[in-house]
Symmetry: C2
Subunit: 308 residues, 2 copies
């Protein structure tokens, strides 16, 4: 396994693989790997000859008051996990190599509307999916996500890239970018990986105290409740959302960021959960930690939500 | 020579060329080819094994009151020229294949801030170079240019792409996109090709009446004057710009859109034409036809401006 820090070197390695006729699978991460990430690696391995796992805590997708500085990092542990799980290349660039002229104090205050710092200037944006839900709570977040993923695609030149369903809106947005910009990359969505009790795995779970860890179960419980109601025939999304909110509302440390039921493709709010594919989405702050989770319906397989 | 209309087919042809180890040169055009375009083809042929010339009158880079509908088109003539000049593939997609859901009436009113039409949603934008000069006169224009060029790069997968110096701001912006988004494409700038009397070649020159054709010489004459002053030691950009404006102002059919002297890399206004590389840029309306031209200094080779 090779660790590459330079975008130019990574691109040259990718071009060399391509010339040898080998296919490349990309797993983009922000590091601090858990079993969820390793499930993406497993899929990338099945799909391609060489697996590149990128570790980049992308400053462009963090808002000014978010957890960029304290986001958990452990390259040594990540490297060991990658080595054991068949990753061929870790791509781990410093922020200044991805965004020339990058300075932490300036970039953190970037919104998609603000003038760009000197040295870096081109951004991707989207008006339809990215302005709702997490995009509404985190202005500029998805512009940062699209921009870094477009860069990673150009640097790593993957045949396939694997994204987790946990970030359902991100996955949908990237599928849209790939369709709209004709990226020559196959996007694979991987099911959510959960702790035994149902909590969706996330690098941010390390922020939780023991008490908060227990409270954090309200996300998956709210989704189980939504599924129970849906299976019992409830199709009024307002009623389902109110029941979810009532459940979360009983947890003292929980503050709801959003609870919404949206169309699975356009992420627009749905009133009547008719025959179409929908997703129940929620973002909840447990203390200072913002967690997200979701449940696609009627086919809930990608959610991996335990049966009760 | 093959004419391909479908983005998917074009991408498959490009992937096949890549698998054969053949390099691809791209010449992006809006068709109605002239000697300027053919000079780009010549460079692409020297640079690569296979030459793809795209013909696409990109609706996203036209404003609501611009000449999208009447922009000159002649695919038959273009094909004959391409065949004679060693083009291997013409890529000529319909607008609906590039922008799913495209409807002429809606797309013409798109600005980069407006909500996107259903079916297409991802755009590239830039804050530093693209908002000045032509970007100020034509809001949304360069977002449309960057978006379509990013799409063409993903569809045609070129090793090299050739852009003309006539659109100097566009070329600089694309060089910036390639650097910022790590596009695996070498950008080559080709010198301006001019009529014998100095008029820069442009597909829009066909709009000019005989009288306007004569008046249109004021652009290259203003640049010649700028060069004369610069060579005589003038370094006050204000003085040079005023002299250019006075020359253009004497032509009755001419309305100045902008006359500016800017840094060759950042396109920011320059007051003092010191030792650095600068570009004298102008956009002038002759009757209803908007023409542009430019002169890099001190090295003026890319401008091909005749000596007096």
């Amino acid at each position: 396994m090779q660790i590459i820090n330079s975008p130019v070197e990574m691109q040259q390695a990718a071009l060399a693989l391509r010339r040898q006729g080998r296919t490349i699978g990309l797993v983009p991460t922000m590091g601090f790997l858990h079993a969820g990430h390793l499930s993406l690696v497993e899929i990338a391995r099945r799909e391609s000859d060489a697996v590149v796992l990128s570790i980049f805590v992308n400053p462009r997708q963090f808002g000014p008051h978010e957890d960029l500085a304290k986001y958990p990092r452990d390259l040594e542990r990540d490297s060991a996990l990658c080595r054991r799980n068949g990753v061929d290349y870790i791509f781990n660039p410093p922020p200044g190599a991805m965004y020339p002229g990058y300075a932490p104090d300036r970039s953190e205050s970037r919104s998609s509307a603000a003038a760009s710092p000197a040295g870096y200037g081109v951004f991707l944006d989207e008006n339809d999916i990215s302005k709702r839900l997490c995009g509404a709570s985190r202005p500029g977040h998805f512009s940062g996500v699209l921009t870094v993923v477009a860069k990673l695609f150009n640097i790593v030149l993957p045949d396939a890239a694997v994204f987790g369903q946990k970030d359902a809106q991100q996955a949908a947005l990237i599928e849209r970018m790939v369709a709209d910009l004709n990226c020559p990359v196959k996007i694979i969505r991987a099911p959510i990986v959960r702790e035994k009790d149902g909590l969706a795995m996330s690098s941010r779970n390390v922020y939780l105290s023991a008490a908060e860890r227990a409270d954090a179960l309200c996300l998956s419980r709210a989704l189980k409740l939504a599924r129970r109601l849906y299976r019992a025939g409830e199709r009024d999304c307002g009623a389902i959302m109110r029941a979810m909110a009532a459940l979360v509302g009983k947890v003292e440390s929980a503050r709801i960021d959003y609870i919404e039921i949206v169309g699975a493709h356009d992420f627009k709010p749905v009133r009547d959960a008719g025959p179409g594919a929908i997703v129940a989405m929620l973002a909840v702050r447990i203390g200072n930690t913002r967690l997200i989770d979701n449940l696609p319906l009627p086919d809930d397989r990608l959610s991996n939500l335990p049966e009760e």
